[in-house]
């Protein structure tokens, strides 16, 4: 019985979260504004895979349906996964590092900072890649939030959230300023991208996003257990033999990297980084050894679902950020009421 409850049930739960993005991603391919029958989607999927494997070219590739599946829907599902995984993974990191279950890349102002960096790059400094600018301003955002919140050596919970609000406001108005200043042709691309949407998803974006996810969340995954110890606070972690400064620096750096790349690809998307780690924690437990990988796959699955809703709810694409907020806000209220001390810590 014991083995059943302590080993088997968690393993089943873990498996569910691990395969969730595959299942939702697969289902998502069959939906969309352009009507393609179930059988046709399957045929095109198989055809695409076999043509990659055998490289024999039949002219099925010229029909528009093929392009819709292989150049629109599939990259879009991949990109949703990558962005959701990056944001939720980073959210898990920040919650542990600041021992604060109320923060995520959006609340800390990193998303706004990264967006500001992207806007500068798009608007004025095209020589510097958007991802680089996003990273620089993401770091700046955390730094400011950190300095504002730091009183007597410790980072207190509420001040950090408030500092994030300030930083967010600062960079959001910065973005507005840029929108006001730049020429109208470029304005359009900034506005579109800023709303938080996967409409522009393509294979190039998938490649960039995947690189960001691997470079950011790869090391975080390897170091993940240390988040347990770091979440005890600075002094405790030191007394247990952890090099707190170095580890915090690494974790924050890698997490910002993922967030910056994600933001550069799809604009600002909130809530995912906050909710997904909470959900997984309530579902499986707080141990970061498991929480980190499952937040990554869970975040990916969550984003795939949100985006599938975003592109199927009406005849045009709703920005996915709106969907995550609509899904997220009530869930958050529910968490707050139900979870109490356990979900929020103390």
């Amino acid at each position: 019985m014991k083995i059943l409850s302590y080993r088997l049930i968690p393993s089943v739960k873990i498996l569910i979260v691990l395969v969730a993005p595959l299942v939702f991603g697969f289902i998502s391919l069959f939906t969309g504004a352009y009507d393609i029958s179930f059988g046709e989607v399957l045929r095109l999927l198989l055809y695409g895979i076999s043509s990659v494997l055998s490289a024999d070219q039949i002219n099925l590739q010229v029909i528009p349906e093929y392009g819709i599946i292989w150049d629109l829907r599939i990259p879009r599902v991949f990109l949703s996964f990558i962005v959701g995984a990056s944001l939720a993974g980073a959210g898990t990191v920040f919650q542990a590092i600041f021992k604060n279950p109320l923060v995520d890349p959006y609340i800390l102002g990193i998303s706004a900072g990264a967006a500001f960096g992207c806007a500068i790059s798009i608007g004025f400094l095209e020589v510097i890649p958007v991802q680089v600018m996003a990273f620089i301003f993401g770091v700046l955002a955390v730094f400011i939030a950190f300095v504002l919140a730091r009183t007597q050596g410790e980072i207190s919970r509420l001040p950090l959230v408030l500092s994030g609000v300030i930083v967010s406001a600062l960079f959001t108005s910065g973005v507005s300023m840029i929108k006001f200043l730049i020429d109208p042709h470029r304005l359009q691309s900034i506005v579109y991208w800023l709303m938080g949407s996967f409409t522009l998803a393509d294979w190039k974006g998938v490649k960039t996003g995947l690189l960001g996810l691997l470079l950011g969340m790869g090391p975080v995954f390897l170091m993940r257990w240390r988040l347990n110890v770091l979440s005890l606070g600075e002094e405790e972690a030191k007394l247990l033999g952890i090099n707190v400064k170095r580890d915090r620096f690494l974790f924050i750096g890698f997490a910002i990297l993922s967030v910056a790349v994600a933001t550069s690809l799809c604009g600002i998307i909130g809530w995912v980084g906050l909710i997904v780690p909470h959900l997984i924690r309530m579902f499986i437990g707080a141990d970061h050894k498991i929480l980190v990988p499952l937040s990554i796959t869970g975040g990916g699955a969550f984003m795939i679902v949100a985006d599938t809703i975003a592109r199927n709810l009406t005849s045009f694409d709703i920005p996915v950020g709106i969907i995550t907020a609509i899904l997220g806000a009530p869930f958050f209220v529910y968490l707050m009421k139900r979870g109490g001390k356990e979900a929020w810590g103390k």
Partner: protein
């Protein structure tokens, strides 16, 4: 052996020493208790010994090796510290909390291995709380939490065990129970155990050595039966104190109760 030699500490920019010429010797297999009123400098002393505050003057030695040049994280090889209580931000299980004591043995890009978890379980068994291992730390009682934190310190496998008032927040039974555990493990594992206590009676029952700290300096020190006298304790706590002998045990009561 743990030695604190001529230790002085003051915060930078302040005029007054928080610790003045503190000398302590604590031996293997012995429970050494630090008594002292609030604000005497006990916590300050712990922070200096464990390396969290390093700008002290004087010397700290473990087994004749000076550790003053080492940072707190390096000193985790020498000292394991049991804090007064731990407020966790996340619902970790007891097993997960205990295995965190293995942090210094876990590589940066690694997670605890079988051996680390086995060690955690072994210690939980030693303390008789293995049935709690899958319980959430935030949901267990104060006594169980204190035992969990003790277990976390023990898996660190450091020669010196430091406890900051391990009996606060505990009921009478649990106070005695945790002290017995500490005493037994100190003997079994040949640990150098240094702890602060508020209740001089617990020191009388369980300590092998007592040091009295007042206003940042050692007032008196020695074995309980010799130093826990009415004059010494009255001087330390600045109240009238009576000491009664019962079965060769010293029981300390306030001189005026009603």
């Amino acid at each position: 052996m743990l030695q604190v030699i001529n230790l002085y500490f003051r915060h930078s920019g302040e005029k007054e020493d928080l610790l003045r010429d503190v000398n302590i010797q604590a031996r293997e297999g012995e429970v050494t208790v630090l008594l002292g009123p609030n604000g005497a400098g006990k916590s300050t002393l712990y922070k200096c010994i464990s390396g969290l505050w390093r700008d002290y003057r004087g010397e700290v030695r473990v087994q004749d090796k000076p550790v003053d040049a080492l940072s707190a994280e390096k000193r985790s090889k020498f000292f394991s510290v049991v804090p007064q209580g731990q407020d966790l931000s996340f619902p970790y299980t007891v097993r997960e909390v205990v295995v965190m004591g293995r942090a210094q043995y876990v590589g940066v890009f690694s997670t605890p291995n079988r051996e680390d978890y086995d060690k955690a379980e072994e210690i939980l068994e030693l303390l008789g709380i293995q049935h709690l291992q899958h319980k959430v730390y935030l949901k267990i009682s104060g006594g169980e939490r204190q035992l969990t934190l003790l277990a976390r310190a023990l898996v660190q496998e450091a020669p010196v065990l430091i406890l900051d008032e391990p009996t606060t927040h505990l009921d009478f039974k649990n106070q005695i129970s945790i002290m017995r555990h500490i005493k037994r493990i100190t003997l079994e594992r040949k640990l150098v155990t240094l702890m602060t206590l508020h209740d001089p009676n617990l020191a009388s029952f369980f300590a092998d050595k007592v040091f009295a700290l007042k206003r940042g300096t050692i007032l008196w020190a020695g074995i309980p039966n010799e130093v826990l006298t009415e004059t010494n304790l009255s001087e330390l706590y600045e109240i009238d104190i009576k000491v009664i002998n019962h079965n060769n045990l010293r029981i300390i009561i306030p001189g005026e109760v009603k």
